[in-house]
Homo-oligomer: 136 residues x 4
């Protein structure tokens, strides 16, 4: 399993009148979590798009345990448990002051930008995960 | 089961560079869907908040089947299957040109704004659902 | 001068913890205002992009007179005072319950999507404004 | 004049289908710029709100010189030229790879959260600016 951590600070724009982070804005945090996870293994989502592959999200499940508030520093823990193939799963835990406030998982698929059809992930991308103890 | 429909048009701001609606923005569409569902049964989420009750989302599961694009008119079908008690579930189907592009469900809880503790939904709110053939 | 009106309802996602619409979200309202203004004269911004022209915003000035709040219905009045050439100006007034709460202006330029260089607006687009009493 | 710098990375969610940062999202960057400017002089916007003062934006002027793109690292330079009184002005320059891509200014006012009326900025807040060489 590969684990990456990244910290972000809640922006005022991300709150709503409940004084909580709006529930739809967590998707941005997951995006930052997985983008920085990819960066920490030596690539980037931008590099993937530049090579004419894009990764739309096809599934997202999220559980809101505690609210996040303005100016909070959130620690986004992103986990990759399996080597990517035609899809890639990411698991997220968000902590605020060491308290788990949110868990989520997303499934993304690989799409060839030229044909706009689903495809297998590029070999160079898949190889990046060889050095981590991934189960499959 | 109570079913409500509401149409919205995709804004440019809601797209991302994939030329799709950003996956995090669907949460706004669900919000509009359930808010308009409540309005169609004679109340509003605003009325609920004005009575010192708020409804944070505690769970969201969403499946992205097809992309939505700029200027598309989306039909948000919102379903309520059970009378609210301490929580309330909403089910969503989003159609674009009569094609189902997204399904989701959200669970919201009732919170007393004075104590900031979970509470049962107000009687007047629960009573609004009596006239619909709800199972429980 | 060409004047167009369009109504939108404030979403929960658009508020912040001040219980006002977040100041950055008005840009979306202006976008909706000008897009619907174009639609009302028989074209659409989408048609323009489909013809390989895009219109980035180069200038925005906005004055926030009164706050907008959750569930408010806002009337966006969009004015076009001059025929577009290499740029196009839009003026906005936003009313809530007939009270003027916001004024703004934006300047957009025409960009050829193939060359990514500024260009003159297409003749067919410019011609749409002939029938309105525009000063220049 | 007091000058503060802060770097942020453009999120995918902040782009639109033009592959540029959506023009409305710069307001978030200005917010981050001024919030971090306040933090660098030893206070925070959160502290101000906790003391029952809030600062809505009443004016924003912004000039978009060059686009910002996904994954770009932006340097937000925030300038404060005058000591706050009943209002406070911030000036922004955003650089991408040392190229100036955006300039803006915002005017914010102080509002007493209890009375919801405009007020003078708190003395403790104003005093923070004494040590900087501010012109007035």
């Amino acid at each position: 399993m590969f684990i990456s951590e990244f910290k972000i600070r809640v922006r005022y724009s991300e709150t709503d009148q409940m004084s909580y982070v709006y529930y739809g804005n967590y998707a941005q945090y997951y995006e930052v979590g997985r983008v920085e996870a990819l960066r920490s293994i030596g690539t980037s989502y931008k590099a993937l798009e530049d090579s004419a592959i894009m990764m739309p999200v096809v599934q997202m499940n999220t559980t809101f345990k505690k609210p996040a508030r303005y100016d909070d520093i959130l620690c986004i823990v992103t986990k990759i448990k399996k080597k990517p193939d035609v899809k890639m799963e990411f698991f997220y835990e968000i902590y605020c002051n060491d308290i788990l406030i949110n868990t989520a998982e997303t499934i993304l698929v690989f799409v060839d930008k030229k044909t706009m059809k689903p495809c297998h992930c590029p070999q160079w991308f898949s190889d990046l995960f060889l050095e981590f103890n991934l189960l499959s």
